[in-house]
C-alpha cells in the first residue's frame, strides 16, 4: 500500500531554481566536494623553527567530537607546514606584531590565488593554519599550560567525561563593524590607528599598547594588498580571455579590487566584493573557518549600495547574481577539512546573516534588498551558508510573513531562523543593566542588535560575547544533589579500559536518600548548581587566559570597536562590549527530573529516595514501573501547565542568578546566560547517567529551551507559552525591559517546533500559520526554528540517503544535511513530536 493518510500535501524535496548557467555551474561544482580540482582546504605555514606549532586546539574544546583528533591535527599540520621567510627583525617584535605580519605574509604573498569560472567575486583560498609565531620559551609555556598534567586539555576533558559539559575560548561568534569599513574604507581605519599611535607617549609606544596598534596597522593594509593581488590576477585573466563579455567582467572586477577595500565602496558589486574580502580575512586571521563569524544586518548596510547601483543601471537580477557568487564563497569555508568525510561538512558552521527587523521608534526596516536576499535564498536552497535569521516583530509586514511561509512550505522549513525582536531586545537591555553598560545598550540603540552564529543575540561591531564558549549540563547538579557531590556512576575510560574510582567532587550536601522533605533536596540542588557553574567558570578561565596570552588577532581587532580605542586586542577584552556566555544545556531534562523527584518521592510517595537512586544506578533496568511513573505520571515542563512551569521558572532564576556572579579573571568579561545546545544534548546523553525523569543513559537529553522529547503533548501554542513564561513572560505592571517584555536570557534561547506540512496546505492554513508566528511574538521566546517534515519522509531518507542528498533539517539553531548527521541525531529528528493532528 502506498496510500498514506497523512495529508494532501505532496511533499517533496526542495530543488534550486532559476539559476543562471554561471551559478548552476558554481553550485554544482561546489557539491562535487572532494572530486573538485580546486578547494579551500587548510594550508599550514611555519616560521621554520623546530618548536613551531600551528593548530590552536583551544578553539575546538567546545567540539567533543574532535577530542580524539587534537593530537593528530597538531602533529599533521606541523608536518605539512610550509616555511615563510621571515623578516630579519621578526623575532625582535612583540607576539601580536609577529602574528599579524605572518598572516599578512601568508595571505598576500604565499597563498595561491584563483578565480573560478564565471565567478564575480574574488577571494578564494582563506583557510590557513599559521604558525603561532611563538619563541621557544613562549611555546614551552604554551605547551605546558595546554598539555601539562593539569593543563587546559586534561581539565577540559575531565569536565566533559564526567558529564558537566564543555568550555573553551572559541574563535568567531561575533559581528564585525562591516558597515563602517564599507562606508569609510580601510584607509580611515588605518588613519585612526595611526593617529592613536601618534598620540601615545614614548613609553606606551614601546609597551603593549604600542605593539598592539602597530600590529593593527600592519593588519589594516592586508585587505588592500590582497585585493591588489587579485586585481593583478583579474587583469591577467582578462588578457587571456577571448570571450568579450567575460573579459569585461574581469576588467570590472579588477577595477573594483583596485579601489576596495582601501577606499569606500560605491557600487553594490564593490560593496559585496569588499565585504567578502573583509570577512574571509577574519577566518584567515583566526585560522577558523566560519563558525559564528556573522554578517549582522546585511540588508540594512548594503542597502545604499544596492539602491545606488539599481539607479545607475544595474539590473536587479545581476545584483542577485553577485549575491549568489557570494553564497558560493561562504560555503567554501567547509572545505577546511574536506578530506575528513561528509565533504568536510560538520554542520556546525554559521556565517549568519540577519534580515529585516525593527528600527528606531519601532518602525519596520524590511526593504527591497531584504526581498532580494530572500529570493536568492529561495533560488539557491538547499545550501547551507550563509545562514539567514529573519527578525520579526509586531509591525513586521504581512508581505514578509507571506514570503517566509511560502518558502518554509517548499523547503522543509529549513532555511530560516526566526528571531523575535521584542523578547530579544528585553534581554539585551537586561544585560546592559547587569553589566553597567546602559550607555552602550539602551532604548535608542538596542534595535540594532543582531544574532550571531544561529540565534545568539549581541550588539554589532563592538561586541564579543563568547556566545558558544561555555556549555553546561544543568542536570549534573541534580545528580550531585542525589549523591552528595559525587558522580552517580564511576567513569569508564575507554582509552585505558579502566574504571575510575568515584571521588568526592562537589560539596558534600549529604546523602540524598536521607532527605526528609522536598525543601531539603532543593537546598542541596541549589548548592550543587552554584558549584557546577563555578566549576565551569574555572574550566573556562584556563583557555580564556591562554588565548589572551598567546593568540592575538590584530586584524579582527581592527573591525571591532573598542580595540583601537583601548589599544587592546579583542582576545584580551578589547571590544567595547565583552560578555562571555554560559549556555545551559539539558534544561527541560533538569526541570522534569526535579518535578519527578518531587512527585514520586515527596508528593505521591511512590518510592523512597533510596529506591529512586538505585533505579537510576541500574539505568532503570528492573525498575520499569518506577520508570513508567517518572515518564508518564510526573508533571513536565512545556505543556503550559502553570505549576510545572513554576518549577521551570525557579530553575531558570537560580542558574541565571549564579551565572551573573562571575567575570573572567584574565580578561574581565562578564558571564551572561543563554540556551543554545548545539548537538551536545545528543552526544552527552551517552555520557550522563540515567536521570530521574525516566530517561536511561544513552537517550537524548533535552535541547536548549525545548521541552523534553515527547513531553510536549498540548501542541505548539502551549509549548511556546511555556517557553515565553520561563523567560520571564510579560511584566504584570507593564514595566518590562522592552515595553512589558521580559527576557532573562540575553543571549537568546533556541526553540524548535516541528510541524506536519498540512499546517500550510492551502492559503487559508497559511494565514493560520502566519497568525501562529504573530502569536509567538506575543507569547513565545527569542528565536524559533520551524521544521516542516513528516516522519515518513525522514524514515525514507534514512533508508535511502542517496535520494535525499540535499535534504536540510534544523538540528538546533543550525541547518544540516539530514543524511550527513549521525544515526542518533536522525532518530531524534524523527521522533520529535510532529504537530498537525486533524
Amino acid at each position: 500500500m502506498t496510500a498514506v493518510a497523512l495529508s494532501t500535501v505532496e511533499h517533496g524535496l526542495k530543488e534550486p531554481r532559476g539559476l543562471s548557467p554561471r551559478i548552476q555551474w558554481l553550485r554544482d561544482y561546489y557539491f562535487q566536494g572532494t572530486e573538485r580540482a580546486w578547494n579551500n582546504e587548510f594550508v599550514a605555514w611555519t616560521t621554520g623553527t623546530p618548536w613551531d606549532v600551528q593548530f590552536n586546539e583551544i578553539t575546538f574544546y567546545i567540539v567533543p567530537e574532535t577530542y580524539t583528533l587534537l593530537q593528530t591535527l597538531r602533529g599533521s599540520f606541523r608536518q605539512a607546514a610550509r616555511k615563510i621567510d621571515l623578516h630579519p627583525d621578526f623575532w625582535s617584535w612583540s607576539l601580536v606584531e609577529r602574528r599579524s605580519w605572518f598572516i599578512k605574509q601568508v595571505m598576500v604573498n604565499a597563498m595561491p590565488k584563483e578565480v573560478l569560472p564565471g565567478d564575480l567575486i574574488a577571494g578564494g583560498r582563506f583557510n590557513i593554519q599559521t604558525s603561532m609565531c611563538l619563541t621557544e620559551k613562549e611555546q614551552q609555556e604554551y605547551d605546558q599550560s595546554v598539555l601539562g598534567k593539569n593543563g587546559a586539555r586534561s581539565r577540559m576533558k575531565w569536565f566533559h567525561d564526567h558529564g558537566y559539559g564543555n568550555a573553551g575560548a572559541t574563535s568567531g561568534h561575533l559581528i564585525p563593524d562591516h558597515a563602517r569599513v564599507l562606508k569609510t574604507g580601510w584607509k580611515a581605519v588605518y588613519a585612526d590607528l595611526e593617529s592613536r599611535y601618534g598620540a601615545l607617549n614614548a613609553r606606551d609606544k614601546k609597551g603593549p599598547r604600542g605593539d598592539q596598534l602597530r600590529a593593527m596597522m600592519t593588519a589594516a593594509t592586508m585587505p588592500r594588498e590582497l585585493a591588489a593581488e587579485y586585481a593583478r590576477l583579474c587583469h591577467k585573466l582578462a588578457a587571456d580571455q577571448n570571450e568579450s563579455h567575460r573579459r569585461q567582467e574581469f576588467l570590472q572586477m579588477a577595477r573594483n579590487l583596485e579601489r576596495i577595500s582601501w577606499e569606500p565602496a560605491r557600487t553594490f558589486w564593490e560593496a559585496v566584493q569588499a565585504l567578502w574580502i573583509n570577512h574571509m580575512l577574519i577566518m584567515s586571521d583566526e585560522n577558523y573557518p566560519g563558525p559564528g563569524t556573522s554578517f549582522g544586518r546585511i540588508d540594512q548596510y548594503l542597502l545604499p549600495y544596492w539602491e545606488y547601483s539599481l539607479s545607475h543601471g544595474m539590473p536587479r537580477e545581476f545584483g542577485k547574481e553577485i549575491l549568489k557568487c557570494f553564497w558560493v564563497h561562504c560555503n567554501t569555508a567547509y572545505d577546511a577539512m574536506i578530506r575528513n568525510g561528509n565533504q568536510g561538512i560538520t554542520a556546525g558552521f554559521g556565517q549568519l546573516i540577519t534580515l529585516a527587523g525593527m528600527g528606531q521608534g519601532g518602525q519596520d526596516l524590511t526593504n527591497d534588498l531584504t526581498y532580494a536576499f530572500l529570493e536568492v535564498i529561495d533560488e539557491m536552497t538547499p545550501i547551507l551558508e550563509p545562514k539567514p535569521n529573519v527578525r520579526l516583530h509586531r509591525n513586521s509586514p504581512d508581505k514578509l510573513l507571506e514570503c517566509l511561509v511560502d518558502m518554509i512550505a517548499v523547503s522543509q522549513g529549513s532555511p530560516f531562523l526566526l528571531n523575535f525582536d521584542e523578547r530579544s531586545m528585553a534581554g539585551m537591555i537586561l544585560e546592559a543593566r547587569k553589566a553597567g553598560i546602559s550607555h552602550l545598550i539602551n532604548e535608542s540603540t538596542v534595535y540594532d542588535y543582531a544574532p550571531v552564529g544561529c540565534l545568539e543575540n549581541t550588539m554589532v561591531g563592538n561586541d564579543r560575547s563568547g556566545t558558544v564558549d561555555n556549555n553546561l549540563n544543568l542536570l549534573k547538579a541534580v545528580e550531585l544533589a542525589l549523591t552528595g557531590g559525587k558522580d552517580l556512576l564511576p567513569f569508564f575510560n575507554p582509552m585505558t579500559g579502566q574504571e575510575e574510582k568515584v571521588k568526592q567532587d562537589g560539596p558534600d550536601t549529604g546523602d540524598g536518600a536521607q532527605f526528609k522533605s522536598w525543601d531539603e533536596f532543593w537546598q542541596a540542588y541549589v548548592e550543587q548548581t552554584g558549584y557546577i557553574i563555578h566549576k565551569c567558570v574555572e574550566t573556562y578561565e584556563l583557555s580564556e587566559s591562554i588565548r589572551a596570552k598567546f593568540s592575538p588577532t590584530a586584524y579582527l581587532s581592527c573591525l571591532v570597536h573598542g580595540c583601537a580605542e583601548k589599544a587592546l586586542d579583542i582576545t584580551r577584552g578589547g571590544a567595547e562590549i565583552n560578555f562571555t556566555t554560559l549556555e545551559a544545556v539539558t534544561y527541560a531534562t533538569t526541570v522534569d527530573s526535579l518535578l519527578a523527584i518531587k512527585y514520586l518521592v515527596f508528593d505521591k510517595h511512590q518510592c523512597s529516595m533510596a529506591e529512586l537512586i538505585a533505579a537510576m544506578k541500574d539505568n532503570w533496568q528492573g525498575h520499569e514501573v518506577l520508570q513508567a511513573l517518572a515518564k508518564n505520571k510526573a508533571p513536565k515542563y512545556g505543556r503550559d501547565d502553570d505549576q510545572a512551569d513554576a518549577m521551570a521558572r525557579q530553575v531558570m532564576d537560580l542558574w541565571c542568578q549564579e551565572t551573573w556572579k562571575y567575570k573572567t579573571a584574565s580578561t574581565n568579561r562578564q558571564f551572561r546566560p543563554g540556551m543554545l545546545s548545539w548537538n551536545y544534548w545528543a552526544g552527552d546523553g551517552f555520557v550522563m547517567a540515567a536521570s530521574a525523569n525516566g530517561r536511561p543513559r544513552g537517550e537524548f537529553l533535552s535541547n536548549a529551551i525545548c521541552p523534553s522529547n515527547g513531553a510536549d503533548i498540548n501542541g505548539p501554542t502551549s509549548n511556546a507559552n511555556s517557553v515565553g513564561k520561563v523567560l520571564g513572560g510579560r511584566a504584570a505592571d507593564g514595566n518590562g525591559d522592552w515595553q512589558d517584555y521580559l527576557n532573562c536570557l540575553p543571549n537568546g534561547a533556541s526553540h524548535t517546533i516541528t510541524f506536519n506540512p498540512s499546517i500550510i496546505k492551502d492559503p487559508e492554513h497559511r494565514e493560520k500559520f502566519k497568525a501562529f508566528l504573530r502569536g509567538y511574538c506575543e507569547n513565545g521566546g527569542t528565536c524559533l526554528q520551524v521544521n516542516m517534515l513528516d516522519a515518513d519522509m525522514l524514515q525514507d531518507a534514512q533508508q535511502n540517503p542517496a535520494n535525499y542528498r540535499h535534504l536540510l533539517v534544523r538540528i538546533t539553531g543550525y541547518n544540516a544535511y539530514f543524511t550527513t548527521v549521525g544515526k542518533e541525531l536522525q532518530d531524534e529528528v524523527i521522533c520529535r513530536v510532529s504537530h498537525g493532528r486533524f
Binding site: A3, A5, E624, G715, P716, N721
Partner: protein
C-alpha cells in the same frame, strides 16, 4: 458547575476561523455509524487501553474494584458491562496505557485553560469552539462557559449536529458568534438509518436558528458542514438536495458550506472501545472525488463561493517519489 469533557485541543485549525481551542463535550444525540469520534457518543466516562504504551505490569487488574479487566491474548480486555468508568485503573496505570475518556471540568478551571491561547486567537481571528459530542446536551454549562468567554472578548463557535431541544439551543445562542451546523443526509429515512434519528427536528432547529439570526443579527455567522462518507452521504443526489435546501432556505445566511472528507484515522478508537466499525476497511477519498463533490455542490443553487472542502485525502501512489 461541572461538565463532562472528552478533550481540549489547542491550536486547532479545522473548527472555524483562525487558530482555536476546541472543547469536545462528551455525549451525543446522534450515533452516526461513520462517526470519527466514537468515544464522544456515550455521555458516560469510559476507559480505553492503548496497547503500545502498556508495559505489562498488570497493576490495573489489582486495583479494579469491579474486576472488569483481564489480560487475554488480544491484550487488556475491558468488560464494558462491569466497568463503571470509576477511573481507578487509569489513575494507577504507570504507563498511561489506560485512559479515561470523559473528565469532569469545573467551569472556572475550563475558562482558565481556554484563555491561555488568547494571543493566538487575537492574531488569527480565532477563538474557542464547543464541539463534541453534542455540546447542547450540556446546555446550561455550555451557555455559562460561552458567556464568560464572550465577556473576555473571545470569539466563540458552536459545532452542533442540530438534534437538541430548541430551548436548550436558543438559550446559548446569544453567546455564540459562529454556528457550525451539520447537514448530513436530506432523506429522513436514510438519516435515521445512518444516525439513529430522522432529520425533521434538525431541520426545524435550523429554521429557528435562521430566524433568530435574521431578527437579532446574532449569531453573526452560520457554516453548514457535510461529512462526505463513501456509500452513505456521498451520493450526488444527496449533495444536490442539501444544496437546494441551503439555497432555498438559507440564502444569504450561510457564509460557508464545507464538505468534510471521510477520515479513517479513528480506526483504532473503535478497536479500543471494543466496537466493530463498518468503515474500517474503507479507504480515504481521492482528491479528485472531493473536487467532483465540490463541483456538484457549487452547481445546485447556492452561491458557489461558499463551497469548500477539507480533510485528508488519499495521497496518490507515487506522488511522493515523483516529488522527491
Amino acid at each position: 458547575m461541572e461538565a463532562t469533557i472528552l478533550e481540549i485541543q489547542r491550536m486547532s485549525t479545522e473548527d472555524g476561523p483562525g487558530l482555536r481551542t476546541t472543547v469536545f463535550f462528551k455525549g451525543c444525540s446522534l450515533h452516526c455509524n461513520w462517526c470519527h469520534n466514537p468515544e464522544s457518543i456515550s455521555p458516560r466516562a469510559q476507559v480505553h487501553w492503548i496497547e503500545n504504551r502498556c508495559i505489562g505490569c498488570k497493576i490495573c487488574l489489582e486495583v479494579c474494584p469491579q474486576a472488569a479487566l483481564s489480560f487475554t491474548e488480544a491484550g487488556n480486555k475491558i468488560d464494558r458491562v462491569l466497568c463503571n468508568g470509576c477511573g481507578l485503573c487509569v489513575e494507577q496505570c504507570p504507563a498511561g496505557a489506560l485512559e479515561l475518556l470523559g473528565e469532569q471540568w469545573e467551569l472556572d478551571d475550563l475558562v482558565a485553560e481556554l484563555i491561555k491561547d488568547k494571543a493566538y486567537f487575537d492574531k488569527s481571528g480565532g477563538g474557542v469552539t464547543l464541539s463534541g459530542g453534542e455540546p447542547t446536551l450540556q446546555a446550561p454549562f455550555a451557555g455559562r462557559l460561552l458567556q464568560q468567554l464572550k465577556n473576555l472578548g473571545i470569539h466563540t463557535a458552536l459545532d452542533t449536529c442540530g438534534l437538541s431541544p430548541w430551548p436548550a439551543m436558543e438559550g446559548i445562542l446569544p453567546y455564540v458568534d459562529l454556528v457550525l451546523y451539520d447537514l448530513k443526509v436530506m432523506d429522513s429515512h436514510l438519516h435515521r438509518a445512518y444516525t439513529g434519528s430522522g432529520n425533521e427536528k434538525i431541520l426545524a432547529n435550523l429554521m429557528h436558528l435562521r430566524d433568530v439570526m435574521v431578527s437579532d443579527g446574532h449569531p453573526r455567522q452560520l457554516w453548514i458542514r457535510t461529512p462526505i462518507i463513501p456509500g452513505a452521504t456521498d451520493a450526488a443526489s444527496n449533495i444536490r438536495d442539501i444544496g437546494r435546501f441551503v439555497g432555498t432556505h438559507l440564502n444569504g445566511v450561510v457564509s460557508r458550506w464545507e464538505l468534510c472528507a471521510f477520515n479513517n484515522l479513528c480506526r483504532d478508537k473503535y478497536r479500543r472501545l471494543d466496537r466493530d466499525w463498518q468503515f474500517k476497511d474503507c479507504a480515504l477519498l481521492g482528491k479528485l472525488s472531493m473536487e467532483k463533490m465540490a463541483a456538484v455542490a457549487r452547481n445546485c443553487g447556492v452561491d458557489p463561493d461558499i463551497v469548500h472542502w477539507s480533510g485528508s485525502t488519499l495521497l496518490e501512489a507515487g506522488a511522493k517519489m515523483n516529488a522527491a
